[in-house]
């Protein structure tokens, strides 16, 4: 990717973000709950009609839709995402507090995923259609079919309730409380990624240059480590980027099961109590992070694949 390509990607990101922000804003606008009422009920007050009217004015809810949207966007651009009704704190502060735990969880499960899926995928591909390949495929099959919320609960049941090895509630934020949520998240991703590693390596193994190298008597291990693995790296990095993105977005279920203090947990609480600014802020933040990860992945091609550098 050269400078122009990166610039056009950034422009695309801005367009997508405008679209996403509009969609989330529209959703909250159309949603049946009333933020002005929630402002009071969140603190246990039954508001009068006048109080609600006043709150609507204060929140700018009496203005037309597009004015509201414009005001909100301009504020967001200045880093002001509004204030949570539920927790009476700025949305930015709340999200920042929860960002690190969720990133920690995402990184931990991505590391677990890489540790298991790359060796398994390679072994499976090298032993194509042998017993070990079937075994790996069977395991990945169950991995993608097991609902992560059930897996999480069963892990708690076994390791926390029956064996008492790990804490049931992962709110402490120490290493021990990270283990089970990370494992739960990693299982499905590992299974998916193992399959992709296997497919990528298999594809390379069947390419002409490998056949040629074999014919010339180059040793199998040299072909594997010297050619096949480096060449199958590229598609795998794209998928890694996408996996990290979906891990980031998919943490809420696991965070809730383990009472983990992350973004997803906060978001679900915000949605349940119709805390609109918080929901909008969360959606925007996660999409920005997701897109930045994908951009970094695309840019990293430059350094990994020499073909990309020549294309300039």
């Amino acid at each position: 990717m050269n400078k122009n390509a990166i610039l056009s990607r950034l422009l695309q990101m801005v367009i997508v973000l405008i679209g996403i922000s509009f969609l989330t804003f529209l959703l909250t606008y159309l949603s049946p709950g009333d933020p002005a009422r929630n402002l009071f009920t969140a603190s246990g007050i039954m508001p009068t009609t006048e109080q609600i009217e006043e709150a609507r004015k204060m929140l700018g809810l009496d203005k037309p839709f597009f004015t509201q949207y414009k005001d909100w966007i301009l504020n967001c651009l200045q880093g002001n995402f509004g204030e949570s009704f539920m927790l009476h704190k700025p949305v930015t502060e709340l999200l920042l507090d929860r960002l690190w735990p969720t990133l920690k969880l995402t990184i931990a499960s991505a590391v677990l995923m890489l540790l298991f899926s790359v060796p398994l995928g390679v072994i499976s591909a090298v032993n194509h259609n042998k017993p070990i390949d079937y075994l790996v495929r069977a395991i990945t099959f169950f991995g993608v079919s097991i609902p992560n919320f059930w897996l999480g609960l069963m892990l708690i049941l076994i390791f926390c309730v029956k064996l008492g090895l790990l804490p049931v509630v992962s709110s402490a934020g120490d290493f021990k409380s990270l283990i089970l949520p990370a494992v739960t998240l990693a299982v499905a991703m590992t299974a998916k990624y193992t399959r992709q590693v296997r497919t990528a390596v298999l594809e390379e193994l069947h390419s002409d240059y490998v056949i040629g190298a074999r014919a010339r008597g180059v040793s199998e291990s040299k072909i594997l480590w010297g050619n096949v693995l480096p060449n199958s790296l590229l598609p795998l990095i794209t998928m890694l980027g996408l996996s990290i993105g979906s891990l980031l977005g998919g943490t809420s279920v696991v965070e809730i099961i383990f009472s983990y203090p992350g973004l997803g947990n906060l978001a679900v609480a915000a949605i349940t109590s119709a805390d609109y600014f918080l929901v909008q802020g969360y959606v925007l933040w996660v999409s920005v992070i997701y897109m930045v990860i994908n951009l970094i992945v695309d840019i990293s091609y430059n350094y990994i694949d020499p073909r990309m550098r020549l294309r300039r």
């Binding site: 695309q12 990101m13 367009i15 997508v16 679209g19 996403i20 969609l23 989330t24 959703l27 909250t28 159309l30 949603s31 049946p32 099959f141 169950f142 993608v144 079919s145 097991i146 609902p147 992560n148 919320f149 059930w150 609960l153 069963m154 708690i156 049941l157 309730v161 993105g245 979906s246 980031l248 977005g249 998919g250 809420s252 279920v253 809730i256 099961i257 978001a267 679900v268 949605i271 349940t272 119709a274 929901v279 969360y282 959606v283 996660v286 999409s287 997701y290 897109m291 994908n294």
Partner: protein, 276 residues
């Protein structure tokens, strides 16, 4: 036709998982019979949280409802909503993709930019936000997941249409006066259908899990409906004292998803020889 039939029947995996899938569907249809007439939403508090025994083979939940009956009836909700969801995504995605590929120009630009927007975004996050904002119900959960999944089908349908859009026989058909509707229906759609059916079949399992996940979070089916995801959520609080409340509904999701995933994979192997 004879040859085609053999292609399906000679694939042992397809036959095996096809039969298992039919059994699951039959369980859903005959749930009242299999549950011996026990009402899945009625219970007596006197029977609350009873471990599995001869009378309640999967035990009872906190309201004294029979979990065996609830799991059986859960198959109805799960299958019906998943099939509805996949059908909605399939129809909307295919229709928009075919239109986009056939007409090109601004139609294509608008549809595909919207699709790009949805894809450049972690799906479950938006699905949760949509389902939560619209209000928790199974219908809204279906809308939410459909909203974030259709672009995948639209992109696929579009690229398949583009493969034939500028071929001579298509131009010949247009010149000889085939109506636009006929072009779409008879020339474009058939080119997309196989690939999209395969995709839909392989997606059934994951769509079922996503719906269950939304219900688990409280954004899908509402109590007292016997839905597997929401049963798991109710069982969560009784993990220590009554693990059967979460073991059976979870196992039901797992088994059903495995069967439909296997069926989809085998169907892909049969219809799409390119993949291994």
């Amino acid at each position: 036709m004879d040859k085609k039939k053999n292609k399906f029947l000679s694939n042992k995996g397809f036959v095996l998982f096809g039969i298992l899938a039919v059994i699951i569907v039959l369980i859903a249809i005959f749930a009242p019979v299999l549950a011996h007439g026990i009402d899945p939403t009625a219970g007596s508090l006197g029977d609350a949280i009873m471990p599995p025994d001869a009378k309640h083979i999967f035990g009872t939940d906190k309201m004294g409802r029979d979990i065996y009956a609830r799991v059986l009836y859960g198959a109805r909700i799960s299958l019906a909503s998943t099939f509805a969801l996949v059908l909605v995504i399939f129809i909307i995605g295919t229709a928009l993709g075919v239109l986009s590929g056939y007409f090109g120009g601004w139609v294509d630009a608008v549809i595909m930019r919207i699709a790009d927007m949805m894809i450049a975004f972690p799906g479950l996050v938006l699905a949760i936000a949509v389902a939560g904002m619209l209000g928790a119900s199974m219908r809204n959960a279906i809308i939410a997941i459909a909203l974030v999944t259709w672009p995948k089908y639209a992109r696929m349908a579009r690229s398949l249409v583009l493969k034939v859009r500028h071929t001579d026989y298509v131009y010949a058909a247009i010149v000889t006066g085939s109506s636009t509707w006929r072009m779409l229906w008879k020339y474009m759609l058939p080119n997309t259908i196989t690939t999209l059916v395969i995709t839909a079949a392989t997606d059934i399992g994951s769509m079922m899990m996503e719906l269950a996940a939304l219900s688990f979070l409280g954004f899908g089916a509402q109590p007292p409906a016997p839905e597997w995801g929401s049963m798991l959520n109710e069982g969560r609080d009784f993990m220590q004292s009554a693990p059967w409340m979460m073991i059976y509904p979870g196992a039901a999701i797992f088994i059903t998803v495995v069967i439909f995933n296997m069926l989809g994979d085998n169907l892909r192997d049969i219809l799409d020889p390119r993949e291994e």
